[in-house]
Chain length 234, copies 2
Amino acid sequence: MLRDYGSLRVADASQHLGISRSSAHRLLQTLVFRGFAVQDEAHVYLPGPSMDAGPARLAWTKDFRRLCQPHLEVLSRRSRESANLMIRVGRNVRFLVMVRARTVDATHDRDGVVMPANEASGGKALLAELPDDEVRALFGTDAASGLSDLETTKLMTDLAAVRKHGFALNVEETERGVAAVGTAIHDRWGTAVGAVSVSTRADRFAERLNGVLLPLLLDSRAQIERDLAELDLG
Amino acid sequence: MLRDYGSLRVADASQHLGISRSSAHRLLQTLVFRGFAVQDEAHVYLPGPSMDAGPARLAWTKDFRRLCQPHLEVLSRRSRESANLMIRVGRNVRFLVMVRARTVDATHDRDGVVMPANEASGGKALLAELPDDEVRALFGTDAASGLSDLETTKLMTDLAAVRKHGFALNVEETERGVAAVGTAIHDRWGTAVGAVSVSTRADRFAERLNGVLLPLLLDSRAQIERDLAELDLG
DNA sequence: GATAACGTTCCGCTGTGAGGAACACACGTC
DNA sequence: GACGTGTGTTCCTCACAGCGGAACGTTATC
């Protein structure tokens, strides 16, 4: 219904499906958690980023994921934070793996989630690999979901900084209280195929970034790129 | 997983999710039923048409559906067959309403399903509204899921017939033992906004088409178009 | 022809998800 | 301000949907 009607309220869903409002509410909340829905300020449910994402017709993702998984586990253990692997599909990034820091809370549950590429750290790292005009074309105001002028200029300055430093940041852009550093992974020919990122609580992010997180992240990237060059998925 | 990895076997799914093979099998079968997966000849699960379909950012679908629903119910009752309402989104059609003939079996369950537009009767009716070269562009072999040369020529001859007669047929193209007639619905300015179709068992299709189904279908279409012109959703 | 790995079917037990009840909040109306 | 009606949300309990073990069919490998 969300996909076909565009917007939905709890009462609508419960009526059309013939279920109670409490059930409709729970189901819609699950959709929000999984990224298939978002709620606007008036509690109305709208299609979320996961809904935009068609199948990634890229045969190598399965092997890519398997190759990276152990490196992410190492990265997560050493940094004591969460490590993520993602690829870009259009204007979104798709998380192939999420290794959570505390294995207690949600295991490798939420992998597969989709986020706007311009918000996630790894997404920015991947967008920075494209020339400016291509990025503009991607996020152009063609569809309803285009970026505002303000957002586009912010994105472009962000990307310039990423190209300069070699890594991208995300401080509470995707989720309150969560910050992340990400960097692109290249194959043997130098083209970006995906990105790694480390995400952590925003309050301890600044103090740990340069000393701990960044070195570990870049090392991880180097390790992955070495394996990738040897294996030759092509 | 299907979305991110492209293909999947029961054993893979059960392993990655940590569930039994029987559960994985059941879940995948549900995905097939809902159109999110299809199985190839080697039992491997691949992304289905529903996976290609992003949100229809068309605000009027909700009202369109509400406007058409009663007409479909009349059509279904008179013909004693199933009546369907669909819109085209890219190379797919999306069923907004499916009024089943026998109210006993699955009520208005399966609405929302997505099918290739070139196979469904209503889909052909909608494609026939486009000029030939635009259809070719839509189904061009750009992505992996392009049509074969044989399929394209079949489609083009089908569409020529549709333009000549004003309605489209689908005899066991989408589902074994099921046939359907469909026709496009136009707004007051003459542009096609959706399609109605009546589907029935293939064995009794030929004998009922000209005498019963087609008149009822065309009458239904006329009724809907009258309401549509009055209401002015624009 | 033996073994293994796979997809599929069946069925009984149990954990999950449905939904009623109650609450919080935002509106209109008198 | 009290009342009514429409919302979204939380909580708790009981029934039944869905899990998985067992068994079967098929294909591939040795």
